[in-house]
Symmetry: C2
Subunit: 302 residues, 2 copies
Amino acid sequence: MNPKKKQLLDAAYQLFVEKGYQSTSIQDILDQSVVSKGTFYNYFSSKNELFIDVFNTVFEKMRNARKEILVGRDVSDYETFIQQGNCYLELMQKYKLYTLFEEAIASNEKELKAFMENNRLLEIEWTYHRLRDLFGEAKTPYLLDLAVIYTGMLQYAMYFFRQSEPNTQPERVVRYVFNRLTHLVEDVSRTEEQLIPPRFLSVWLDRPQDEVVIRKELFEKTNAHMKRLITLSPISEESKEAHDEVLDFIYEELLERKKPKIHLLRRALETLAEDPIFTGQEIMTQYQGMVDEIAHIRTRVQ
Amino acid sequence: MNPKKKQLLDAAYQLFVEKGYQSTSIQDILDQSVVSKGTFYNYFSSKNELFIDVFNTVFEKMRNARKEILVGRDVSDYETFIQQGNCYLELMQKYKLYTLFEEAIASNEKELKAFMENNRLLEIEWTYHRLRDLFGEAKTPYLLDLAVIYTGMLQYAMYFFRQSEPNTQPERVVRYVFNRLTHLVEDVSRTEEQLIPPRFLSVWLDRPQDEVVIRKELFEKTNAHMKRLITLSPISEESKEAHDEVLDFIYEELLERKKPKIHLLRRALETLAEDPIFTGQEIMTQYQGMVDEIAHIRTRVQ
DNA sequence: AACAAATTAGACTTACTGTACAAAAGGAGC
DNA sequence: GCTCCTTTTGTACAGTAAGTCTAATTTGTT
């Protein structure tokens, strides 16, 4: 990287952390980095852009540090997850990023806000995926809610905990909040309460394709499971064949058609659901939910 | 109120809500209210002060609306609490205060930040007291944690829920989060995990005396309960008398002495705890906790 | 040495907060 | 209607900061 640019980035990082974003003037950064105004505007079109540039790398570093904790370890291990949370928060504390990020996220500068917003969403997404690692695919419908709630608990608990004991490790807080979370996983999967369907994650992050790919895997499993169920069920061979046809139709229509015919799909699903071997079965509602979600995403992609 | 001042407050409120704090210049407010700059600075020393003046009354209105829901109703009724939460969030939504408050709380202006900070604390305090109404005094040690966590869950759930369904009532969110909370109350009182002792509430709000008064009541009850326990227990009259003396000593020393002798108190407590009738009893740990807290507050008041 | 690219210093525009003060308007009592 | 005092106005001014522009200087390369 160009030395002048690096000087600017370093000085900016230092000053932002030290004094906050608004209170750091471009002149401050120029003085600190011993670079002239002209050069500054040669590399960055505004202070916002500089900030984004600086903290993109900071975020990346933090995420990498967190990722490294996972290597060679079981993704479903609770302890690993706690360590990852702890690591992330320790870095936040070490670099005193709390207030700075608060300032940026509430900034009235559109670009900045959007940048921080996106990072917030990436955090939720990461948590969502990790919760799926920890608690299993079966809990998926509730995991976006739990990721959101977990993040909220953690943020607030950290905030107030720092006020009561400023210089302690965040580990106690992470542990406390995680213990609460494990209870809530059981709680919501028992009561089946859902607030925000997980498909919104990709809506927010505006990358519907991803979600289709992720869903596809899960859908294929469920589809295969349904087929197995049918062959094992005590119904006539004719019905079995009919069901198989429907399943194949749904599969093709849903995943391979350019523009799935939603109404046809619904109809097909209904005929399937009418069979007594499926009524009241959890697998059926799961299956229906998946079809709905994927159809929803795919029509949006159009 | 002076008409010019009112004009300014009205215009400021409208513009702040519409455009945000930073993006509203004083000139904008002057234009909107048809008041001159001189008059503005006659009534407010800065834009910050104006903001604080405006939103002090807004906060008050919101709190009053919430308070009115409680009149004539049982403070321990869950439904009432949910309605109160819902009411507060609806007002936040109605007046579009979310982003505005976010902006203010992260502002780099010290006064503003302090003002919002204080309001945040008042919210936690309110929640804490209401949770005590709902779940009873026995849960007190865990209720600050729960108030903090509840607020965090609610904020984050609301934030993301608004993104998925922008124009719906917050009631679903409040209900969802409250349901989770009820589980956590059982959870933490079973595992006895505590993150932030409730005394910090008054430390943060910087009014230590209050807390002594509040604690005193609770302490008296527990003290009386201990005495009853002793008279009913199968130990010698001599031991009973000895224990009674210790209890009285602690009571006087702790609540009536100007400067309680902490080490003596600790010693007295230990002798009490040594008796087998107390070992492992929850009441004893509660009692010890209370003594610790009150002693802590009272020495700080000094 | 010659040339191109990077860099500098500083003047300049725009937009905002907050100060200062003289002039004008308003209102209460006589 | 007149006086006195307060409120209000209009405007000029100082200070800060973001961002633009340009002529001059430095640096690196061939």
